[in-house]
Amino acid sequence: MSALVEISGLDVGYLRHRTIRPAVVGLDLRVEPAEVVAVVGESGSGKTTLANAVIGLLPANGRVTAGSAIVDGVETAGAKERTLRKLRGSVVGLIPQDPMVGLNPTKRVGAQVAEAVRLRGGTEPAEEYLEQAGVPDPAMRARQYPHELSGGLRQRVLIAIALAGQPKLIIADEPTSALDVTVQKRILDHLSGLVREQGIGLLIITHDLAVAADRADRVIVMQHGRKVEEGDPRTILTVPRQHYTRQLIAAAPRLAHGGRVVPRFDVRGQEEPAAILTLTGVSKTFAVSDRRHGRRGFNALDNVSVTVPRGRTHALVGESGCGKTTTLRIALGLEPATGGSIKLDGTEITGLSWNKLRPLRRKAQLVHQDPFATLDPKFTIGQSITEPLVSFRIGDRRSRQARARELLDQVALPAAYLDRLPTELSGGQRQRVAIARALALRPELLMLDEPVSALDVLVQEQILQLLADLQQALGLSYLFVSHDLAIVAEISHTVSVMSEGRVVEQGPVAEVFTNPQSRHTRELIDAIPGQRADAV
């Protein structure tokens, strides 16, 4: 049987300022029918460019400069739009990265699936494919609009659209990186099941080696546009030949520990230090109104009690929408609580006005999730870092500069970055700057809102290491919000698992991970990718 995809010596580059910058260099790749191949690499390694080149969807300045990419017997490198259009949908289906923007918001999802069926020339109802993609109650869902569906359901609709073309190959570009770990697991389980049943080839593009190793028959590791390693997951995990692959393995907590999740800290049986932050019975009700039910309250938080011990890290874990970010914002006083009490370092902060609360800001600071939006694009790094000092009128220009240098040094960035703008920095570097800014006032408590979930696995590990080092050096306490238990295991001492606005389980990480009591906790632990490492 001939290969579905046969790429040999492919060079792809982007035209910028009249020079072509290579993004993919001399790549060879084969995908057989009913085979799952995963391409792994950090952002900028050229993996998405590769996927786009195969399906002929390179951006306007993308150029295939050498080599060939044969898909189902048709040469796509340099092919005309007409040839490519015949391939798309019916031969190659693409599942885009972001389910939130991948669907047309003004059309019912059924109609969007039906469109793909019609383009192939088929007549079956759209519900059939929604059902195949694992959408529950397809007849009802088909009549809904994308905004009425959750992220996981939208991703399934996108899969249904890809399936509707009855393709021979599906390309999934980071199909789950925008989703919670539990949803991610369900979607990937379902997708690989479909592939094996129907004999479709699957090309998964991901930055997470653990995800790739769990699903793929063959893993290809890419770095700087080149293939650095290729092989079946077992070989790659046990005898990685390249330093880069070893780094990727080390960065995936579960792979590094042979398929088990090993918490870094074990505080069972130790005496708990005094609390720096205590939330007691905090509730939050948002007023929502819709046409059918009129105005009513929506319980975002229901009687949540959380304690952050001094000098330790407490994690809030749960799926999106479970109220963990709301808890964090309330603890910081950015949002008022409907009920309950919040004590920061012994001071009750509920009901305090902004001006009364302001001095307490020096004790607790916040680090956001998205490193690309957390720095003012018009501010230099130095201005951003010293801004809290300026707000509190601490020191003069010279002492602030000195403090900024010291802070950059603490987060392991060169002092030369003081005059740079955020656009000149990578995601990981920006997150370091955000941490430096949060440290400027010498706070005792840092609130971290998914600080690494927007970053590549390798950078994630560096930032987590930095946070651990800072905790040790400065005696900081962290309140750490995350949906990923693997990351929590790397940094936290204690954890609260949340679900639908309630805390369902609480305790030392080592205890919760080895002996989970609640169903939600077990689900979250099962969803950590890297289980195949068990087998090896």
Binding site: Q242, H243, P377, E387, R420, R437, L441
Partner: protein, 297 residues
């Protein structure tokens, strides 16, 4: 981590230094990109020329705007009389140049009024939201409902003619656009994490507004300002065309075009050349605005 890299003898290629263009390089690249657009350069030069000639017309003509020469009346355009001459033998080129100060000055003042008032309205309404927002936006809606020229005509009729009244009349007419654009930008920037980060860092709302929201929301407003300069020029020319302009023999773009109307068949240059002069200016401003918009996107 449990893996040991110490006995790792294999040497990987060093990772290439991440290429991030420095700020200076970015600016240079932008300027180079602009310099490669000849139409944009011509437009900028033309606007520059018109503004300079409005303040120092003597640089570009030696004749006076009121010097009549009956013997050279109604000459068609030629060397020495670039735009030809009018009924009294006055050099039309000179009159066009001397006719620009009021328009240009009024346009600049009108823009200043519109930017200040529009930015204030937009920022206040975007920032405070709720009732303030609803109230201010309804006021703006009412302003939008009145045709700009009608509003300008009423204001000029009430205040009389002159640089300041014309500037006020035209400026008030273009305030709503500025207010709306600013408001939408403020609403966008207000929810960004860096604003929250500044708040969490103890910054007061005033500081957040001044240092974060304003600098990050005025980009589209600047583009709109260039675009509206063209609108203002046309509005002022229309006013003087309709007879609300300076009294004869003083010249002005609108009155020049109006005066030549009766001779369109015999002496086309009397109306068409001043008209083209103004049209080209507005066109240049629109082109500059569009190019800037593409650049900032």
């Amino acid at each position: 981590m449990s893996l040991d890299f110490a006995q790792d003898v294999q040497v990987d290629a060093p990772p290439p230094v991440e290429e991030v263009p420095s700020r200076g390089a970015n600016l240079r690249a932008n300027l180079r990109q602009l310099a490669r657009k000849p139409v944009f350069l011509i437009a900028v030069l033309y606007v520059f020329f018109v503004v300079v000639s409005a303040f120092w017309p003597k640089l570009f003509t030696s004749a006076g705007p009121y010097d009549t020469h009956p013997e050279t009346a109604m000459l068609s355009p030629r060397l020495g009389h670039l735009f030809g001459t009018d009924l009294y033998g006055r050099d039309l080129w000179t009159r066009v140049l001397y006719g620009s100060p009021l328009t240009i000055k009024a346009t600049l003042i009108a823009l200043a009024i519109a930017i200040v008032a529009g930015l204030t309205l937009g920022v206040v309404s975007g920032f405070f939201a709720g009732f303030t927002d609803a109230f201010l936006m309804r006021v703006v809606d009412v302003l939008l409902a009145i045709p700009g020229l009608l509003l300008a005509l009423s204001i000029v009729t009430a205040l009389g003619y002159g640089t300041i009244p014309v500037a006020v009349a035209v400026g008030v007419g273009i305030v709503p656009g500025f207010a709306r654009t600013t408001r939408s930008e403020v609403l966008r920037v207000k929810t960004l994490p860096y604003v929250e980060a500044a708040r969490a860092g103890g910054a007061s709302w005033g500081r957040v507004l001044w240092r974060h929201i304003l600098p990050n929301s005025w980009g589209p407003v600047a583009v709109l300002a260039v675009l509206d300069a063209g609108v203002a020029i046309i509005a002022i020319a229309s006013l003087s065309f309709l007879g609300f302009g300076a009294a004869p023999p003083a010249a002005e773009w609108g009155t020049l075009i109006a005066d030549g109307r009766n001779y369109l068949v015999t002496s086309w240059w009397l109306s068409l050349l001043p008209g083209l002069f103004v049209a080209l200016l507005v066109l240049s401003l629109n082109h500059i605005s569009k190019t800037l918009q593409e650049l900032t996107r």
